[in-house]
Subunit: 321 residues, 2 copies
């Protein structure tokens, strides 16, 4: 049962309990995606719910951006499975008094993110409710799903893009300020790394996930599922340009700020030792996405986050903490 390989944390405790309640019908809980063998490859599917006041605030984002984020978050799971999206389903909950125009704009944002990933919106459900929520389900096909459990001692840990941009925007909004354009973009219109995910799956990734709760938390899932240890060199994290200022406001060293930042939707992958800077450059040439080596896997269990030679404790984000 793959759910046994979840890292620690209140949300994961709950998922474990739920998986136990489901018994044998809970195959694959704890992976980013449902993975079903299909012909020579796999059918993969994922679901994500975005709830007003929890995942978004209307004061911060336009309806199109709320829709985009909800859809991009689910598509990002497909990216981590090395998949090509095939379709998107969206269920919207809106209060009876909400203007129809707002609902259309929300749906347009979902449609734009789906179209950018090459997957049309195939259907949906619209219902009234006490608050706004968007639930997006995506499905696609993958020739090879790296999964979370394949990292081996000696593999290196790589991350795509830059980290901390979405959290930098949040920190500004929470202080009543406006984030700068690039940080706002990182939060409001994250790019699911579909092409990079496919490329990494085809080029030897032994394990892969997408960063939804922050590298500090998510790397634990790779280590736990793979039954290996990992050391992350925080100084090597690729920081979003907005991190420097926001980390100062938060009173955290910039790499710690970035490692705690959720919802970057970058890919975190284990790659064989032989994967080098030339290979990373090839990925960038093929997909437009940069890769940075940020750590290495070891036989000894545990996750070590190291900054300036010292091990530091970094909490990830937990919905049920």
């Amino acid at each position: 049962m793959l759910h046994r390989s979840l890292g620690p944390g209140g949300e994961f405790d709950r998922i474990r309990q739920i998986a136990a309640a489901l018994g044998s019908s809970a195959e694959g809980l704890g992976e980013d995606c449902a993975i079903i063998p299909d012909g020579p490859g796999h059918l993969v599917a994922s679901i994500d719910a975005a709830v007003e006041g929890v995942h978004f605030r209307r004061e911060w984002l336009a309806p199109e951006e709320i829709g985009w984020r909800a859809c991009a978050g689910a598509l990002s799971d497909l990216a981590a499975a090395g998949a090509t999206p095939v379709g998107v389903l969206a269920a919207l909950v809106v209060p009876p008094g909400a203007p129809g125009e707002e609902t259309e704009r929300l749906m347009r944002g979902i449609g734009d993110a789906a179209e950018a990933a090459g997957a049309p919106v195939r259907g949906g459900d619209l219902t009234r409710g006490p608050m706004r929520a968007a639930c997006v389900s995506v499905f696609g096909r993958s020739e090879r799903v790296p999964g979370r459990g394949g990292a081996r001692p000696g593999d290196a840990l790589w991350v795509s893009g830059t980290l901390g941009g979405a959290r930098a925007a949040l920190v500004r909004w929470e202080r009543g300020e406006q984030p700068d354009t690039t940080a706002r973009q990182a939060f409001a219109r994250p790019e699911p790394r579909i092409a990079a995910g496919r490329w990494l799956a085809a080029n030897g990734a032994t394990a892969m996930l997408d960063l939804s709760d922050g590298l500090a938390g998510d790397v634990r899932h790779l280590a736990a599922a793979s039954a290996v240890g990992v050391t992350v060199d925080l100084a090597s994290l690729p920081l979003h340009p907005a991190v420097a200022g926001a980390a100062r406001l938060a009173g955290e060293p910039p790499p710690v700020f970035a490692a705690r930042g959720g919802e970057d939707y970058e890919l975190l992958a284990a790659l064989p030792r032989a994967f080098d800077e030339a290979a990373a450059a090839a990925c960038r040439a093929a997909t437009g996405v940069s890769l940075t080596r940020v750590g290495s896997f070891e036989a000894s269990q545990g996750v070590r986050l190291v900054l300036a030679g010292m091990e530091v404790t970094v909490r990830g984000f937990d919905h049920f903490a």
Copy 2:
């Protein structure tokens, strides 16, 4: 664009607006399922959201029943597509203070409905929110999807099982009474007609949908999508045993009460004229589900609901009325 074939009503006006906003990325909106050609058959998928206070009340249903209904509603869309379910994804929204045991029971209900349909729960998402909601996405495979648009003049209209049971339970609860066991069962644990849906798709159904908003409303979708008219003989509707008493309380003739009753999750199918009682008996023998002939399709547009020789007006259920 299939969404043009939706019947009238506030919810459908909204879906049409949303489809217009999505433009070309909205393929198939308005069908019960997303339908994607896949090998010799089709991949089909659907999504349903169930929101506390809108689709269920905790005073009325146990958590397992709330979960079962949410999952059964989505599986019923697969039944209407003649599909074999392959997997279920569930996203739960629960308030931070909700007991973990309640969440597990909700999830167990989803798992039970999924297992009864032969499709394991393949993954999910758990998030906090201001109220409870369950969003269930299902996917499966179908060799032949009848769709909504294939009914021809001369075809007959058939319905599975009995109608009005779920509404009979609702009427009792709304009066502060307890529904009888069979009505409660109809509401709390509806059976998605998976086997019957497959059988009907393989045995000539020219159009099919599942009854979520009541026959009076849903039959309009078949007629509109097929560009034909239909006459429904309300006196021939197969009534749930609890309808007689509940219809009296509601002050409606029993067949009108049943035709307005949403969430029966029975199948409504157009079948060729040659489909007869012997064929219906064969369906029952193969699937355990009874079929009743309740009307006929005609070239002249429009939906006529006839009771005792008189045309009557019956409203369906509309989330945005």
